[in-house]
Structure formats: C-alpha cells, structure tokens
C-alpha cells in the first residue's frame, strides 16, 4: 500500500479543519477503506485459544457473520467490564469534551480524520454507554429527538463497524492520557473495545495469528524450538566472524542465574537481529569475566504479548509462561529485553495476573551488588536498567569509537515511557557507547513521545497508509534532527519499533537507520580474547576501517 500512496499524496490529504454537522450523522457513511484496516483474524488462529466465533470473514463485506445475539453479548460484555474496571466506568462518565486530547494523537495529526481525535474515538463507545447504561440515556430514549440531543445512540451494526474501524486505528500509546485533566486513557478504552470485539470474533489477523503462535509454539512468529536454536546459532557464527569469540548461549539451562526473555522479532528480522547479537555478546562477556550464567528458553521465547491487544485474559494466558519457565528452570530472577508493550505488561500487569513470584529472588546484580528494589516483587529487570547499572559501576569495557559513525537520537517507545517511566536508563547507556547524541524536540520525546504508528498489533502490511500517516509526527521530529544535526541513527528499545521505524524511515526520512540500544552495546563492548574488529554487527566497516574494504 505504501507503493500506492506517496508521501506527497499523504501530506496533501492532511487537513485539521473539521467538517460541520454532527459526527453521528456520518456513521453510516464510514467506509472501511483499504490501506487503513487490517485483515480479519483467520479462523484457525482464533480456534487455538478457543476464543468465540471463529470463522472466515471479511471486514469490507456487508455480512460479518456475527452471532445472532451479538448485541446481547456486547451489552453483557460492557456491563461486566464496567464492574470489573473502575477505569472504564469513570472514563465513560467524566469526559467533559474539553478537546485537550484532540491534537495529541499521531493518527489525528497524520490523517486529520476527526474520529481519530481521542475524544471522539471514545465517544463512539461512550455514546452507546450513555444510551444503554445511564438513567438519563434511558429517559432520553423515550423523548422524540432525545437521543440525538444527548449524543446517545443504540448499538447498531453501523455503529459497531465504525467502532471496529477506529479502535483498530489506535495504538494504545497513551499520549492523550498525559494531557487529559482527568487522566482519561484512550488506551484503556481501546483495550475494552477490543476485548468486546473478541467476544464476537472480530479480531484482526495480525494480532490473532501471533497470539495463536505464541500460545502453541512459544513465540509470535511461530518459530519452533529447533529453529529458534538454529537462528541464535546463526548469530553466533556471525559474531564469531566479526569478533573471533564464540558467544554460544544456554538454552533451558536449569539452575542458571538468570532467565532472559526478549521479543522473538529480534531473532527473526533486521535490524532487531543486531540487537539480539548485542545481547549474546553482553552475556558472553559477563559469563567470561564474571561467571554470570544466563539462559534463554524456547518455551518462553516471546517477550511481547499480543494477548494484551486481544483481552486481559489472553494476555494472562500468554504471559503465564514467563513465571512458569523461570520456576521450572529454577533461576534466581528474570531479565527482559528491549521491547515496548512487553514492558507495560511486565511492569503493570504480570505480577498481579500471574504472581506472586515467590519462587524467585529479589533481583540482585551479582556483579555490582545492586539490588533492584524497584523490581522486588515482580522480579524482572529491564535490560537497560541492568546494563546501565553495569556501566555505572565500570564493569563493562567499552570502545565508543566503534560507534563513531552513528549520530544518534532516541525514540522513547510509548509503553516504557508512559506505562513505566523508563526514560533515562537507555539514554545513559547510549551516552556511554556512543559520542554523538541529539534529542528530538521536547514535545516529541519522553512522556510526550510519539508512537511509531504501528503499535498495538497494527504493524501489518495491508494498512500501510494508516501506519505511515500515524508515523508522520515521529518522522517530522526525526527529520528535524536529521537535517539540523545530521542524525543518521534512530535508537529505540522496542522490537516493534525496530520493524516499524525502519519502514517509517524508508518512507519519510530515507537516510536514517534504526538500531536497538544493545546493538550499540554489542559493537562497543570489548570481549575478552576478541580479535581486532574491522566490522560492526551489520558487517559494515567500522569507523576508521573503511579503506580496508
């Protein structure tokens, strides 16, 4: 689809002007448009987890093959969630439509579609809530014109399709929530909406199939255990070519110190693969120098959790493997790789859902003696917290000059930024492995960071117009530092980012590459017994070694 719409055509479409009239009158005319939606979930993927209404269906066809009582199912579903989630109930009740959130959403900024203003996205569902669940709404139903006046509407098929379309145009990035005077979090509303869709079998395939793979095979990409091992061993060979050191990792090693879990995307696709090599180099270094024993697992070979984009229950079912595997292997604690939504799940949900992790120890870095009190209960530490601690204590021997060709900026991923507050740890690591670092403008970083436009399961191929539109605010900020400071590398700590931002750069800022932070660590880290390196992990000549090519 990116081939079909050029950046210029996309930019020409942007108009923040708003139509006159009432958005409710436009529900019927909403077109589920190619380039803007993701394909429907395959029946077999929905069946893997025994989720409802598995069947082939197509969003652009009139008949969505819904169960006969779909309205009743959704009504009961909303009712149940209002009782289970105070967030949902309050966010349905207290919005004053002040508009502070309106131009905070990357999808609104990239498309100008008023229904991408967070307030209206939520109103799509809120209008149904007001109609069916509030006393005022029930009274207004009986007065001619009352529904319209109150902004209430029944849950019709058109309303459902409109909701489906727009709640799959939200990446649950929480940027609007930062600006809302009541902390209304559209991500939370989108999570509820998607949970409701799943009750009647309306997931998208880019979420459902990874979920099914992860459940059965251990990771989103469906990499089977032997293949997973093969892929890491392939990296080991590459690293040996570059450094002369064998970084063979442990798999499912019982009694290891630490279980390491990272998104499978980094095992599978560039440039995440280089980040993955960075992990292998770091673990080899720590094993060689300090005797730290880290193990990987093919069973818990997925850090990400697309269940989070399906339902709370599905999230829990996928996440359960982490603790289960840590317990089985008898490790002391868990270390998590660079990933965005994975870390929101670990930080804000895991212990509550699948804890208590009383079979693990409070994480202590045996090399520095640092006790990670901030992870005392969940017992899982973020790799940039871990590496920052090692660097701070001078435990890593680093050669910054190997990254001298990288002029860096850093993209804060939504979830670590707004669902955790992991902001300075990655910056500290970057500044210790690389000399050239420039921040993007303040309105676009840290808690104000813009989404890559492809999060929350929307990183598919068929919705490329949506993704590139949503990527625009990030891209313009990146372009700014690219032009002003010559930034050529966009650092990130998210596997989806590594895929999505690469596409973003190719489309909007072609001269910038995307790199995970531990790729840079892997380049800079001086392994015991390594040969003189002439290439970086991408097998491109190191700065100063170009002429040897």
């Amino acid at each position: 689809m990116a081939d079909e719409i050029t950046p210029d055509e996309l930019l020409d479409k942007i108009d923040y002007g708003t139509p006159s009239g009432d958005w409710m009158d436009t529900t019927k005319s909403v077109q589920i448009r190619p380039g803007m939606y993701c394909y429907a979930a395959k029946a077999e993927s929905v069946e893997t987890l025994g989720l409802p209404n598995a069947r082939p269906w197509n969003p652009v066809e009139d008949d969505w093959k819904l169960p006969d009582d779909w309205q009743q199912i959704l009504h009961e579903g909303i009712k149940e969630r209002l009782e289970r989630f105070r967030t949902f109930k309050i966010f349905m009740d207290v919005c004053v439509r002040c508009g502070a959130c309106a131009d905070k959403c990357h999808f609104f900024l990239g498309t100008g579609d008023p229904k991408n203003m967070p307030v209206l996205r939520s109103e799509l569902l809120r209008s149904v809530y007001r109609n069916d669940f509030t006393t005022a709404g029930k009274i207004l139903q009986k007065i001619p014109g009352g529904q319209r006046l109150g902004g209430n509407r029944p849950l019709t098929l058109d309303a459902l399709k409109e909701m489906w379309y727009y709640f799959f145009q939200c990446t649950e990035c929480r940027r609007c929530s930062v600006f809302c005077p009541y902390g209304i979090d559209t991500a939370e509303i989108t999570i509820m909406a998607r949970e409701l869709f799943n009750l009647i079998g309306l997931n998208i395939d880019w979420i459902a199939t990874p979920v099914s793979n992860c459940y059965q095979t251990g990771n989103h990409l469906g990499i089977q255990p032997h293949a997973f091992k093969d892929m890491l061993e392939f990296f080991v060979e590459d690293i040996e070519d570059i450094t002369g050191v064998d970084c063979t990792p442990n798999f499912q090693k019982k009694g290891a110190d630490i279980l390491f879990i990272t998104p499978s995307g980094d095992v599978f696709a560039d440039p995440g693969t280089y980040t993955c090599q960075g992990y292998l180099i770091l673990f080899q270094y720590l094993k060689e120098k300090y005797g730290l024993d880290v193990t990987w697992s093919t069973y818990a070979s997925e850090g990400g959790n697309f269940g989070f984009f399906t339902s709370h229950e599905t999230m829990k079912r996928l996440n359960a493997k982490m603790y289960a595997e840590a317990k089985r292997l008898g490790v002391k604690w868990i270390l998590g790789g660079e990933c965005g939504h994975m870390w929101r799940v670990i930080h804000q949900y895991m212990d509550t859902m699948n804890g208590p992790a009383d079979f693990l120890e409070v994480p202590v870095n045996p090399i520095t003696g640092t006790r990670f009190d901030n992870a005392a209960s969940t017992k899982m530490v973020h790799i940039t917290e871990f590496t920052a601690d090692l660097i701070k204590h001078g435990k890593l021997e680093l050669d910054k000059s190997r990254n001298a060709n990288r002029i860096m900026t850093f993209h804060d991923s939504c979830n670590p930024a707004r669902g955790m507050g992991l902001l300075d740890e990655p910056r500290y690591v970057i500044n210790n492995v690389c000399d050239n670092f420039y921040e993007m403008p303040p309105n676009t970083i840290r808690e104000n960071t813009f989404c890559c436009g492809s999060g929350a399961g929307l990183n598919a191929g068929e919705n490329m117009e949506l993704r590139m539109a949503g990527a625009l605010p990030r891209a313009t900020a990146l372009k700014f530092v690219h032009e002003k400071f010559g930034v050529n590398t966009l650092g990130t700590i998210c596997a989806i980012d590594r895929a999505a931002l690469s596409t973003l750069c190719e489309y909007w800022v072609p001269d910038v590459e995307v790199a995970g932070i531990h790729e840079l660590v892997g380049n800079a880290l001086i392994l015991p017994g390594e040969k003189e390196r002439t290439e970086d992990l991408r097998m491109e000549p190191l700065p100063g070694c170009e002429e040897e090519e």
Binding site: R86, G99, A100, D103, R328, D373, A376, S377, D424
Partner: protein, 334 residues
C-alpha cells in the same frame, strides 16, 4: 447543528421564565421551598450513588500514566511527582491535578503547514488552562460567598473572602472580582465550543447546557446585586428558613430571585447525571491516583481467575523429537 446549542439556550430561558412567572402567580412556595429541597436531595443522593457506583467497580491493575522518570537505580533522578512511587508522591500529584489542573497546563496546539519542510509545529496552548482555572476558582469563590445567606452570624472566613473578592473597591455595591471572572471565563469556554471547529465538532447539547445554565445563574445574580436591587433581608430570611428546616416565604421577593434560585436548583439536580461529575471523578481516576510501583509491590486483582495455559509439558510433548534432535534439553527423554 445549531440545535446542539440553541435547544440548551432556549431551555435555560424557559426554565427562568417558568420560575419568574410561576412565583408571580403565587407558586413561591413551590419554587422557593419544594424545588430547592428536592434539588439538594437529588444532588446529594445522586452524587453519592454515582461515586459509590465507581468505587464498587474493581481496580484490577495498577496502571498509572507515567509522565516522568521512574524510580529505578539510586543514581538516576526520579520525577517523584509525575511518576510517583509512594503515596506521598501520589498525594502531591493529585493535589496539583485537582487544584492546579497540572495535566491541562501541559496543553499544546499542533499546526501543520504543507510547505517545503512539512513540519508539525507544537506551541504551548495556555488559554484553556487559564480559562478553566479562572472559571473553577471564581465559581468556588461565588459558592463560598453565598454562605452569607445560609449562616447567621456570617463566619469571619466568609467575610474575609468577600473583602478579598471585593478588593478592587469599585462601585456601590462593591464589585466582586469573581462576578467578573466567572462570566468572562464561562463566555470564553462557550466561545471555544462555538468557534473552534474541532471543539464544536465534539460538543454536545450536554456541553452547552451547563455553560448556559451557569451563565444564566451569574446573570441573574449579578443583576440582583448591581442593578435591580432585590430585598436582601427578605431573601436571607428565606434562605435561613431553608437551612434551619423552617421554611418561610417572605413577601416582596421578586421573580428575578426565584428565577435565580430555580436555575441553581436545576444545576444541583442535573449535576450527578452529567459530565459535571468530573468533580468526583478526578479524585478516583486510576491513571492519576496510583503509585507507579507495581514491580516493587504486588497489586491484587480482586477478580483474578485461573486461565488455561499451554504448559511446558504440553510444549515438550509436542516438540520432543525435534528438541532432542536439535540438542535442546528435555525433561522426558522418551
């Protein structure tokens, strides 16, 4: 969609006229006694029911929106207000949120220009914050000042507030600042809804109605104080009667007062069923009122239930041969 604001505007006029003429037609007892009591009752019951409804819902996960650096390593400077990990940090965050509208203070405005650079420009947008703050504080002062009508003797604090509110000492009776700021801020908020295309598009009748209602209350109140000069002694006799549960309807209180009182009553009764409940909701919003310490201290989900998972044993059973062949450790060899 003119009816979105014309209907609420007309409604407020009609409500005023109903009370104005009704009181003149001998229904003073109804608008002066029955309606205020019912309205206050509706407000109290409605407010409590709504808040109880919210608190009855569970808080299964601790999901604050973090707006600053987390507490992690001791040498990394935490932002203890925007990303609090303790209840005292949360307390400060909530204090700033409730009394200073901190999140709204961050507001920016985005503009996109289709030109060579195609940049999106963000500028600080402070007017909504200023108007919102002015509106709410002026409203609070007005409400507190009205305690003069419900207390005898009038407490020193109320008299002090009046003195402060009238500090400019202009005109007779002296001008209250809140009497200027409240309608001015309300008019600004109304103008935003009418003239900012985005805000207009998202606005509903239920957004215009409270604004018109409050403007109507302000207009009638200002008119009574500065222009038509109502019988204040009679009014105080009546309001004291209401709070002491021995209601009286003195003669000579004009229809304007009944109109004012009726609009206030409508506001009270309407409050719990409307978006105005953000007053209560802001205290309970889980993205703001929780500490970001979920990894340090376990949060309990009251309805957490067991779910089917794909166990390691099932996984190994499925892949055992391939695992053995690849040299991966297995629990059962056969």
């Amino acid at each position: 969609m003119t009816q979105k604001y014309l209907i609420p505007l007309t409604a407020v006029f009609l409500l005023f006229l109903v009370a104005y003429t009704g009181a003149g037609a001998g229904l003073g007892w109804f608008f002066g006694i029955v309606v205020p009591y019912l309205a206050v009752l509706a407000f109290l019951v409605g407010f409590v029911v709504k808040v109880m409804g919210w608190t009855a819902s569970a808080v299964p996960f601790r999901i604050p929106t973090t707006c600053g650096q987390q507490k992690s390593l001791p040498w990394i400077k935490q932002n203890p207000i925007d990303n609090p990990d303790t209840s005292s940090g949360v307390f400060v965050r909530m204090l700033l949120e409730i009394f200073a509208f901190r999140s709204l203070f961050r507001n920016t405005k985005a503009a996109f220009n289709r030109n060579a650079s195609n940049r999106i420009i963000y500028s600080w947008e402070i007017f909504l914050w200023v108007a919102a703050l002015a509106f709410h504080y002026a409203f609070l002062v007005v409400v507190l000042r009205h305690f003069r009508f419900f207390t005898a003797p009038v407490p020193g604090a109320v008299q002090f507030l009046e003195a402060l509110d009238g500090i400019v000492q202009v005109g007779l009776p002296g001008l209250f600042l809140s009497g200027v700021v409240l309608p001015a801020a309300a008019l600004f908020l109304l103008a935003r809804r009418l003239f900012d295309a985005k805000v207009k598009y998202m606005s509903r009748a239920s957004d215009y109605f409270p604004l018109f209602l409050i403007l109507g209350i302000a207009a009638t109140g200002i008119s009574m104080r500065y222009f038509t000069k109502v019988d204040v002694t009679g009014i105080k006799e009546m309001t004291m009667g209401l709070v002491t549960f021995s209601p009286v309807i003195p003669d000579g209180i004009g229809g304007l007062f009944y109109g004012h009182l009726f609009l206030v009553s409508i506001l009270f009764a309407y409050f719990p069923a409307s978006k105005l409940m953000h007053l209560g909701g802001v205290f309970l919003s889980p993205t703001r009122n929780m500490a970001n310490n979920t990894r340090a201290r376990r949060h309990i989900n009251p309805w957490n239930y067991d779910v089917p998972i794909h166990t390691y044993e099932e996984y190994e059973d499925h892949f055992r041969d391939k695992m053995i062949e690849a040299g991966l450790p297995v629990d059962k060899k056969e």
